[in-house]
Symmetry: C2
Amino acid sequence: MKVGYKIWLDNHGKAFGDGPCELLRRVEKRMSLHQAANQMGMSYSKAWRLIQTLEERLGFALLERKVGGPSGGGSQVTSRGKALTSHYERFRKDVEKNIEKVYHKHFGFAEKKGRK
Amino acid sequence: MKVGYKIWLDNHGKAFGDGPCELLRRVEKRMSLHQAANQMGMSYSKAWRLIQTLEERLGFALLERKVGGPSGGGSQVTSRGKALTSHYERFRKDVEKNIEKVYHKHFGFAEKKGRK
């Protein structure tokens, strides 16, 4: 037995969570929402709509489009988007640590007895 | 902004969580899975399949059927089912308290600034 959970930031709906966090990290590396979505098995249009929804709920832009240039454009994560991503990652780690601790406090005995 | 989450006990799939906990509490009161499911807007067959799945994953019975008698039978929660329900409720409260604490540690400044 173990504890399972999902966690997210909510502002009249999901405003940020593990999926968006991974997507932004990938955009940061690839400079492209298209490639980032692709890596996660998500269609570009779905990723685009997701970003629109999150930006609305957060009240600030996560991505900025770069048009033209030698690489033919692409997307980049805004500085507020990068700050939120890092902030969320630290929060996420702390949540994980705490949930595991609470789980073991309440259900740790089951493990000790060798139950699964 | 606030933190959103779902939590459950997992043993090769969801083995217990908020929904099952509420369902068992209602069975305890009504002595009937049928009525308990109904109160939660769930079909009897769905509730029955859910209980079967949870029992398989937990490795013990949650309900026992009472056949006949003046009330025409019904379901009762087993003593292990009752113990798990109480145990889970205490765990759930502790998780909630801890997640809120971690959220405020990391994102509390946003509230203080009056952001939503």
